[in-house]
Amino acid sequence: MQKILIKNLNLWYADFHALKDVNAAFEDRKITAIIGPSGCGKSTLLRVLNRMNDLVEDVRTSGEVLFDNGNILSPKCDLVSLRRKVGMVFQRPNPFPLSIYKNIVFAEKIHSPSTPRSGLDEIVEESLKAVLLWDELKDKLHKSALSLSLEQKQRLCIARLIAAKSEVVLMDEPCSTLDPQSTAGIEELMRELKKKYAIIIVTHNMQQAVRVSDYTGYFLLGELVEFGGTDKLFTNPKDKRTEDYITGRFG
């Protein structure tokens, strides 16, 4: 089932044409990887999907991005509910300088301040279990989230999205600051999470795309050069430019 459908998407930062006529569909309960050299527009695309590009001045878009039967690029789109449903995991793990508990219930407290304590407790337990941190952290929920290891922090950030009831998880190079073992841990978690969520991951690491993703899109200079099943794209690319990139002749 298609979760997000992108039709003829163009994006400009002032005069710079950053995304050129992109068409793509992201499936629910699958992992889609977006690869490509630096500055090719992959992070920009990710940030269109929850309108985080709005934070940048002088951005213009054209085309459609359909999610939940609506065009999220429309000025009428409810940003609060969109960003709740389409959550983002950033490159650097970025928990708030609050306790583990307060990090997780942040969205809930903002959106429904009257949730009783027991409801919050439940949310914390469920989301920490979902990211396999519950057993490690259940006795120190009120410790500062800044005291955790990098991998734990990144898992906590994912738990924070789960607690916000996200449906789509956008990941912007979520493992680039982690060591290989922690990376393997996060990848394992992604496989677990895709049973419930649509995951879209931007990565520099082609091996990572091969390991975790079901679909892959290759971006070059703002253009989606090729999009398809990961196996097919990496073993039998249709486009010469994709082949150059994945075989390491370029990039």
Partner: protein, 282 residues
């Protein structure tokens, strides 16, 4: 080779001398005031009303007056200053209005304190008919410390990492919720430090309160914010220049109390700041 070493030694000597010269006046001020003022300090000096045209008795109304004035000034300046700082650092776009506001703030901090006094006299005392009162004096002092409070608050707000705002927004929080729940709590220690330092300045200024609140001799405590009050810096000025035959001990005792008050406040600022630095890990 030897020559360059000697030159270096001479340079070091003069640099050290210049640095020591900074310590000297501070040390002397403290020593002189403590030595001459300490004998005056007693329970009754601090907690009694002045008597005999201020030649005897205590300075309690001046202490209370100063505390009231400073509390009022800080309350006012914090309220306006933090709101203005939030507007400037979070909402304002870089346009003509913003530039005019920033220019005004810079200029405000350059205005001599006696001018603030005259301004307070004409606006609060005369035009708004507050009369010579604590509220007029507090507002005048408040406006005087406003630029620094705005500047400190802006620095504090802007030092909260951009990533915190980004995450908060990405979780569906509105801009105001982000400021309210993430940015402001993390900026509070910085705002506090700036504010506390300004308390010291407000407590010590004489000119702004001269025309707006300070009573020459008022041997009872103020009853409301619309009353006149005595204040330490002005009291010190009065007993040193306007009243003949005041015992030196009383003058230096008053100075010592003012100095201790201000130094104590600054000490609090230093402790708050060091706690804040230890906690800050991003």
């Amino acid at each position: 080779m030897k020559n360059s070493k000697t030159t270096q030694k001479i340079a070091f000597f003069f640099l050290l001398l210049a640095t020591l010269l900074i310590i000297l006046p501070v040390g002397l001020i403290v020593v002189i005031i403590v030595v001459k003022g300490l004998p005056a300090i007693s329970w009754s000096f601090i907690f009694d009303m002045p008597k005999d045209g201020m030649r005897a008795g205590g300075i309690w109304p001046a202490i209370v007056g100063t505390i009231c004035l400073v509390a009022g000034a800080v309350l006012f300046a914090l309220l306006i200053g933090v709101m203005a700082a939030i507007y400037l650092s979070e909402y304002a776009r870089d346009n003509l209005l913003t530039r005019i506001i920033k220019l005004a703030i810079v200029n405000l901090s350059g205005v001599p304190s006696v001018i603030f006094g005259l301004f307070g006299l004409s606006l609060f005392v005369v035009f708004l008919k507050f009369g010579s009162s604590i509220i007029a004096g507090s507002l005048t002092l408040g406006i005087m410390v406003l630029p620094i409070i705005i500047a400190a608050s802006r620095v504090a707000l802007e030092s909260v990492p951009h990533s915190f705002r980004e995450v908060s927004l990405s979780l569906g929080a509105s801009k105001w919720q982000t400021i309210r729940h993430i940015v402001l709590p993390n900026a509070i220690p910085g705002i506090m430090t700036g504010t506390i330092l300004e308390i010291g300045r407000a407590a010590g200024e004489t000119a702004p309160i001269l025309f707006t609140v300070a009573a020459f001799y008022l041997p009872h405590l103020p009853g409301s914010i619309f009353d006149q009050a005595m204040a330490l810096p002005y009291h010190l000025y009065v007993i040193s220049t306007q009243v003949p035959n005041v015992d030196e001990k009383i003058r230096y005792g008053t100075a010592l109390v003012l100095l201790i008050l201000v130094l104590f406040v600054n000490l609090v600022a230093i402790i708050v700041r060091s706690k804040f630095r230890k906690k800050k890990k991003w």
